[in-house]
Point group: C2
Chain length 120, copies 2
C-alpha cells in the first residue's frame, strides 16, 4: 500500500478531520491528505510542529521518562495529534476541537505502525 492510501484510509469517516501528514523531522512533509475545511498553512504547521517535537524529545530525555510516543495539543479550535514513527519521521493528525478525537487518535496509532513498515 502507498503512504497516501494509508493516510486516506485512516481519515475516512473521522468527523472533524482537517489534515493528516507524514513529516520528516526537519519539518518537510513526505505525504499529506487535507480536507476542504482546513484553512491553515500546512507548510508553516509542519515546520512548527517539528520544532515542538524536538523540544519535547529533549525534555523527555532530560526527565528520563521513556521514549516519546505521542503528543496531543488541544486548542480552543483544534486538536493536533503527533505520533513518532521512527527517529526520522512523525505523523500528524489535525482535527476540529469537537471532532472524533478518540477515533482519530486510535486510527493514527494503527496507521503509524503501517507507515513504519512501509518506510522500513
Amino acid at each position: 500500500m502507498s503512504l497516501r492510501y494509508t493516510l486516506d484510509a485512516m481519515t475516512r469517516g473521522v468527523n472533524g478531520f482537517l489534515a493528516a501528514l507524514i513529516v520528516a523531522h526537519d519539518g518537510i512533509p513526505i505525504d499529506e491528505v487535507t480536507s476542504r475545511q482546513g484553512g491553515f498553512d500546512v507548510q508553516v504547521l509542519t515546520v512548527e510542529y517539528a520544532a515542538v517535537l524536538k523540544e519535547i524529545k529533549r525534555a523527555v530525555t532530560v526527565i528520563s521518562m521513556g521514549d516519546l510516543e505521542e503528543v496531543s495539543i488541544t486548542t480552543s479550535s483544534s486538536c493536533v495529534v503527533v505520533r513518532v514513527v521512527n527517529n526520522d519521521v512523525f505523523t500528524v493528525l489535525i482535527m476540529k476541537n469537537d471532532g472524533d478525537i478518540g477515533k482519530g487518535r486510535y486510527r493514527l496509532r494503527l496507521a503509524s505502525l503501517e507507515i513504519m513498515k512501509e518506510l522500513a
Copy 2:
C-alpha cells in the same frame, strides 16, 4: 477549598497516578501531590515542562489555531497531561502509561476550573 485539597481530590481513585502539580509559568511549583511510586525529580520536570509549554504556545500562535488548552505527552513509560489554567499558571498530571489516562484527564480538566477560581 485549598489548592492541595483540590489536587488530592482530583487524584483519588485514579490508577497509575504518580504526581499532580500546579506550576507557575517560570517552572516553579505552587503546590504538588506525589504518590510513593514516583521516582523522578519533580523540580527538573516542572522546569522542563514549562519550557515545553512556552515553545508550544509560540507554535500555536504562529499557526493561528486558537488558544492553547491542553497538551498530553505519552512516552513508553508515562503519560503527562498539562492544562493551561490562566496566563501565569498551568496544572500537570503525571500517570503511568497503563493508568486510567481518560479518567485522569477528565479530573484534571474539572480541577483546573476549580484552581482557576481559587487563584482569581
